[in-house]
């Protein structure tokens, strides 16, 4: 028996290696093959951020809430929820029929355990930091007590950020970050893990006991990891894969757009909010003068980068909050290219004879990073700034330089992660200037009013007032310019046109794909 199973396993492995999974319509729910370049270390999104883990994690684990296309929370494991008037208490009423994949019921204690696990282990500390305690008056009620109002809490209860773990598996005392079950997780989501071959594939099977009736629609999801982008494109063109999320290269996008069978969309990344920007080290003597930073902003042609370098697939981005977010304030200055103004600002700052600066970039795909850095070298020469491009051979080298503040200018990509509290504050709070931590306030930007506004916005429960606080914040940083924002990273999803309900919500494919289905017949 063991031998035959091994033989079957071998066949599966061979079939995977050959990409022989025929995808598409079948008599039952059918199979969906997702192609991805991202390699997950494990599948537990409670202790690991990032796209690679979130995609399978959101299929395996359910979460208290989910979000629709309009940023409105929807019931998931919580069939209803109340936020107390003072914003200090959030009550979740759980569904009664949810089971983990091993047949045990999902209890309030599991939800409480999961929130504590995320709070203590996930890299995004701000998500659940204000959670003081969690009460579970009965098996289906969770009361989250906060030590200050925390409007970002509801978004942090999304599938990508707050997977509900079974306490009877993960609560055995092992360190959650290295728990053996992270690679063989049991959740209550629409799909169960069938097989996880690190670096190659994640095979997910329909959860027949999923607590939402008639879902999921698909029988099987296979996430095939193809690290070589050109091999991945060929797999998409040949129909060996049905969906390719998080595609950002203009050549890739243009190539798959030409494939008749496929649809390509940039919808589904609103909550990710990936912003590509040029960061200034505001403590560097040459860049501490705001006029120098503004001069650089006036010298750089954002339009050229978006249209010529990115072949028109990117969208311009001129502020710290992604332009597709409801908190974005469109009234902030764009710094449209104006070379004369740039020159006079430089002259005012005492650099009439020009200056020399270095620019770093993240090694890897060039289009959003190295190419822009090389453009800066050519473009800033026009206003007398002599740029030296500092190449980093690998990501750790770059990350070490930037996090230790050993840079003048650098290209960077930082994600908003839905609520500004999670992904935006970290870049601008002076209290988050932490040497050695990448994607902290590495610009070392400090403005008391900004700190004040952000701390107020973090606890402001009235959405309209909160929006006003963020509007003032955006106007200040757009003037101080610790960062010159360039564009939203052009993430696109390519998928088979026949698919019904493709993942175009705010979380894209980092969201349960239980409604996704092949058409009948």
């Amino acid at each position: 028996m063991t031998r035959s199973m091994r033989a079957v396993g071998g066949l599966v492995a061979i079939a995977l290696a050959l990409g022989a999974f025929s995808s598409g319509v079948s008599a039952d729910g059918g199979r969906l093959v997702i192609a991805s370049t991202q390699v997950p270390r494990h599948l537990n999104g409670a202790v690991q951020s990032g796209i690679a883990t979130a995609m399978p994690s959101t299929q395996i684990f359910a979460s208290p809430l989910r979000y629709d296309e309009n940023w409105d929370p929807q019931p998931y494991l919580a069939k209803s929820w109340e936020v107390s008037g003072d914003g200090m208490k959030v009550t979740l009423n759980l569904v009664r029929n949810a089971l983990f994949h091993d047949g045990k019921p999902v209890r309030a204690a599991d939800v409480a355990f999961s929130i504590r696990t995320v709070r203590d282990n996930h890299p995004f500390k701000t998500m659940f930091e204000p959670v003081a305690s969690i009460d579970t008056p009965d098996d289906h009620t969770v009361v989250i007590n906060l030590d200050r109002p925390h409007p970002a809490l509801l978004l942090a209860l999304s599938p990508a950020l707050a997977p509900v773990l079974p306490e009877h598996v993960f609560g055995d005392g092992d360190d959650p970050k290295t728990h053996p079950a992270n690679s063989a997780p049991i959740g209550s989501g629409p799909f169960m893990l069938e097989e996880f071959t690190p670096g190659e594939a994640v095979v997910l099977k329909k959860n027949p006991n999923f607590f939402i009736e008639d879902r999921p629609r698909l029988d099987e999801i296979i996430i095939r990891i193809i690290k070589d982008p050109s091999a991945l494109l060929i797999a998409m063109e040949k129909g060996e894969a049905d969906m390719y999320p998080f595609m950002a290269g203009s050549q890739e996008i243009r190539r798959l757009e030409k494939v008749e069978r496929l649809a390509v969309t940039d919808q589904g990344y609103a909550a990710v909010g990936p912003i590509s920007w040029l960061a200034f080290n505001t403590r560097s003597p040459k860049l501490s003068d705001v006029r120098v930073r503004q001069a650089i902003a006036y010298a750089v042609d954002r339009d050229f980068i978006v249209k010529a370098l990115h072949r028109g697939v990117s969208k311009a981005q001129r502020g710290p909050i992604i332009e597709s977010s409801p908190f974005f304030d469109p009234s902030i200055p764009a710094y449209d290219v104006d070379l004369d103004r740039a020159r006079s600002l430089l002259a005012d700052a005492g650099f009439a004879d020009g200056m020399a600066l270095t620019v770093d970039y993240i090694p890897g795909p060039k289009e959003q990073q190295q190419t822009v850095a090389e453009y800066l070298k050519s473009q800033l020469k026009k206003v007398g700034i002599d740029i030296t491009v500092r190449a980093a051979p690998d990501f750790p080298t770059w990350s070490k330089r930037i996090s230790n503040h050993d840079f003048e200018l650098t290209m960077d990509v930082v994600f908003n992660w839905g609520d500004p509290v999670i992904g935006v504050h970290r870049t601008y709070l002076s209290t988050n200037i932490v040497k050695g931590v990448i994607w902290s306030n590495t610009q070392q930007y400090a403005n008391e009013r900004v700190d004040e506004l952000l701390n107020q916005a973090a606890v402001e429960t009235d959405p309209a007032k909160r929006k006003r606080l963020y509007a003032e914040f955006q106007r200040i940083v757009a003037g101080d310019l610790p960062i010159y924002w360039i564009n939203a990273m052009p993430y696109h999803t390519a998928y088979d046109k026949r698919l019904v309900n493709p993942p175009v919500g705010i979380w894209g494919a980092m969201h349960p794909l239980d409604r996704l289905e092949w058409p009948e017949g």
């Binding site: 190539r255 010529a308 072949r311 190295q370 090389e374 453009y375 050519s378 190449a391 051979p393 690998d394």
Partner: protein
């Protein structure tokens, strides 16, 4: 002067001049060197300056005969500016290769015994490493710049020269004039440098010439893989930077590629010509 009394070098030069392909190689190479050194006199242009819309096709009515690259920089200016560094990397790497290779090969071949064994094992160690990968590791360890690239290429390509030198030394050290030199008490160092090395020179010169070509290709390969020095224009870097757009625009990749091809081709012809010129048996044909 009597014809029969010509020096070997002069004889070789005459033979070389009768070798049409070799002469052509020399002329092409001289032309390329002249263009990179004096090109700016005829064609003013800054290789880094954005002068036009990106991806302007070659031979249009614009002022840029070979078009522009992905940033709108002039490709001709890039070729002129990139030639010097490309050739310099090739020459420096070849020089380094010769220095290390001859030192190892000469000592191993001349002394034999345990010196030979130790030096040859070291050589073999470097020989079995995949050269391009090893060069990439070196460039990665010491941040990418033209100097590190030249050193990396030199460090990975000397074993062949070492083996060649050793073979020549093994052969020549048994010849009578070497025995004679030893008999009159010439010191080892003098025998190695003044007696054997000049007589082993012809194949080494050929090898050095070919190494220049290989080193230029290496530099292109490293730049193509994204480890080039972005602050110094070179042909390899031009290919590496523009390759992402090759489906949209072929010319920013093709012309530096052609330049590399022509250079390596002419260097190879030259190397073959030198080989033929120094080889008396071939010369008689």
């Amino acid at each position: 002067m009597d014809e029969s009394a010509q020096s070997p070098a002069a004889e070789a030069w005459i033979a070389f001049c009768h070798n049409i392909p070799a002469l052509a190689g020399l002329l092409i190479l001289l032309g390329i060197v002249a263009l990179t050194l004096y090109g700016t006199l005829f064609y003013a242009g800054d290789a880094y300056e954005i002068v036009w819309a990106p991806h302007e096709k070659p031979l249009t009515e614009s002022d840029f005969p070979l078009g522009t690259d992905y940033l709108g920089r002039d490709i001709v200016a890039g070729l002129i500016a990139g030639g010097g560094p490309t050739l310099a990397v090739g020459l420096c790497a070849a020089l380094l290769t010769m220095v290390i290779g001859i030192a190892f090969g000469a000592l191993a071949g001349y002394y034999g015994g345990w010196v030979d064994i130790v030096l040859m094992r070291i050589t073999e160690f470097f020989q079995v490493l995949p050269a391009l990968l090893f060069a990439m590791v070196l460039v990665t360890l010491f941040s990418p710049s033209l100097v590190t690239i030249a050193i990396a290429i030199g460090v990975v390509s000397w074993p062949q020269t070492a083996r060649l030198t050793r073979a020549e030394f093994l052969k020549i050290k048994e010849l009578e004039y070497v025995t004679a030199a030893r008999a009159i008490g010439t010191r080892d160092r003098r025998i190695i440098w003044k007696v054997i090395l000049p007589n082993a020179a012809p194949p080494l010169i050929v090898s050095a010439t070919l190494t220049v070509g290989v080193a230029i290709l290496f530099e292109a390969g490293i730049s193509f893989l994204g480890l080039g020095d972005p602050n110094t224009m070179s042909w390899g870097l031009m290919i590496g930077m523009n390759r992402e757009y090759i489906l949209d625009a072929w010319w920013p990749v093709t012309f530096p590629g052609l330049a590399i091809f022509l250079t390596v081709f002419s260097v190879s012809l030259l190397g073959d010509g030198i080989n033929d010129a120094f080889n008396p048996r071939l010369r008689e044909r």
